[in-house]
């Protein structure tokens, strides 16, 4: 990454007028990479009536906040976003575009990059500046391994970071200029017609207040084996929860799912049984005070965040734990 050239453009996601907190992490990444490579940092926000969000970002240390205010961008669509973003890139000519790997970014960033003949280096968990290269670390095999990757094509490069990679609250404060940036979007070009966002009926089970949780993953193999883990949860007086594949299979109801598309919990104890520890699961439970993992694979990513680990066959360990817990009651 040549010093000073190009600059960094950070994407700030705004939903219903509010800045997505994950965007502060992308901004923090921009500040760090900018400082290391001597590049200026700018940010861009798209929407309608989002001046307050722009002002909030302008109170951080960066050069310019590009505010794109357009009725066609009032609610998010992939087509509208890509059209608008392409024009901002054309006007500002950044060398690097940084984003947080949110659901929305997953929806449009690959298209944006491809429309410019680039590929997004997505869902990264770290970076290193090495001469002209920006070396990015990404998880592969659902976190069992990682890869060091470099974008090789022409700039701008597009990079998204996994949520939690940077601390958004460490963004340096400052004052930036807000620049009104206009784009032309023909509403007819937007093929997706979004309806209102909604939540499903409120979950019947609220796990967020549970002090003790026993959670089961695909290591349980079959539906009938869930009983083993249910017995353990009863013996410990804990709530029972699960990883997504268990709920996908209807082995336990959806409202017992933990993770990015389930509940987020922070119990005193989270005991994970046969759960590998994919990032989408970890985000839902990493706030637990004490984490225990039972897994037969010593390299399972869940051990990365476990306080206590048992490497072994859950079909031997869970019954033993249940017996011990019943003895202690």
């Amino acid at each position: 990454m040549a010093n000073g050239e190009g600059g960094i453009l950070v994407y700030i996601e705004v939903t219903e007028g509010r800045v997505n907190r994950a965007s502060y992490e992308a901004l923090r990444a921009g500040q760090l990479i900018g400082a290391e490579t001597g590049q200026e940092v700018a940010a861009v926000l798209f929407g309608q009536g989002i001046e307050a969000a722009a002002a909030e970002i302008a109170a951080r240390q960066l050069q310019t906040v590009h505010l794109v205010n357009d009725a066609a961008l009032a609610s998010y669509t992939a087509d509208g976003m890509v059209r608008a973003f392409q024009q901002v890139i054309g006007q500002t000519k950044p060398a690097l575009v940084l984003l947080s790997h949110t659901y929305e970014v997953r929806d449009f960033a690959p298209k944006l990059a491809a429309s410019l003949g680039r590929v997004l280096t997505g869902d990264c968990i770290g970076y290193r500046v090495d001469g002209q290269d920006l070396v990015l670390t990404r998880q592969i095999f659902q976190g069992k391994m990682v890869a060091d990757v470099v974008p090789t094509g022409e700039k701008p490069w597009f990079v998204s970071f996994q949520i939690g990679t940077f601390r958004g609250d460490e963004c340096e404060a400052g004052t930036a200029a807000v620049a009104l940036t206009s784009v032309t979007i023909d509403a007819g070009e937007i093929r997706q017609k979004p309806e209102q966002r909604f939540k499903e009926a409120k979950a019947a089970v609220d796990l967020t207040q549970a002090p003790l949780i026993v959670s089961v993953g695909r290591g349980i193999k079959e539906q009938k084996n869930i009983e083993l883990v249910r017995k353990l949860s009863e013996a410990l007086g804990a709530e029972l929860s699960a990883s997504r594949p268990i709920c996908d299979n209807d082995w336990l109801p959806m409202d017992r799912q933990i993770g990015s598309s389930g509940q987020t919990v922070s119990p005193k104890l989270y005991l994970a049984v046969g759960i590998s520890g994919a990032i989408q699961h970890l985000v839902g439970m990493k706030g637990a005070r004490t984490i225990v993992a039972i897994n037969r694979d010593k390299d399972a990513p869940i051990f990365e965040i476990a306080d206590y680990g048992i490497v072994g066959d859950l079909f031997e360990i869970v019954p033993a734990l249940t017996a011990e817990a019943e003895k202690n009651r």
């Binding site: 590929v119 990404r138 998880q139 997706q192 979004p194 909604f198 003790l212 476990a306 072994g312 033993a320």
Partner: protein, 259 residues
Amino acid sequence: MKIIVCLKQVPKNDSVLRVNDEGTWIQDRDLSYEINESDQYALEAALQLKEKVGGEVLALSLGPARVQTVIKEALARGADRGVHLDDEAFKGLDAYGVATVIAAAAKKEEAALVLTGLQSDDHGYAQTGVIIAEQLGVAHATIVMDVEVQEARLRVKRELESGYFQWVSLPLPAVLTIQSGINTLRYATLKGIMAAKKKEISHYDAATLGLAADQLAPRQKILRIYVPQKSKQTQFIEGTPAEVAARLLEKLKNEARVF
């Protein structure tokens, strides 16, 4: 409706992964493979759409000869025809390259709908479907949980963050990336397996698809892969199951004080 469903062959979920000699990918000898998880749900969604509105399901896979196992599995579950994309030039492509090849095949087949899983369990790029849409010049929606057909449009339910969902309508032709769990998978029956033997698999290489090498040139390079460094100190508890159970509960009580 002519539907192409993209199926990636990935190492089985519980595979023991070993880094290759160059350090740039895993060793592929001794591995067993399966269909990428969310792609299986995409296949099921395709079969259910066909049952509802009629048409044809093409099971497409890009990769060496071994990926035909994936295609055959899909044919046994009910897909009508296979499409195998294989060429020396298709080796080691990034998401852009893979999507470019698949888009060329989808164009050749004049598919009305292309379905993919939302992300692969190996590279985890989560981009292939979206780039296919861009290369085809058609609309897309990602992380799809439900699909309704409304004449020349689709109405799909997207999963969003923080427990939100959203229905979005988009015109056909289109590309959708399917989330795991959207339906209940069917498995191949004996009858299905027999019927699959008579089904055709079309083979396309770079020349048949009219693809030049520079269109597929990688835009990203893997320098090396490795097992991540652990940052947290995990206390591993060892012993017989009974010993482990007693020690863990003792520690949870007296050290972590959770009870």
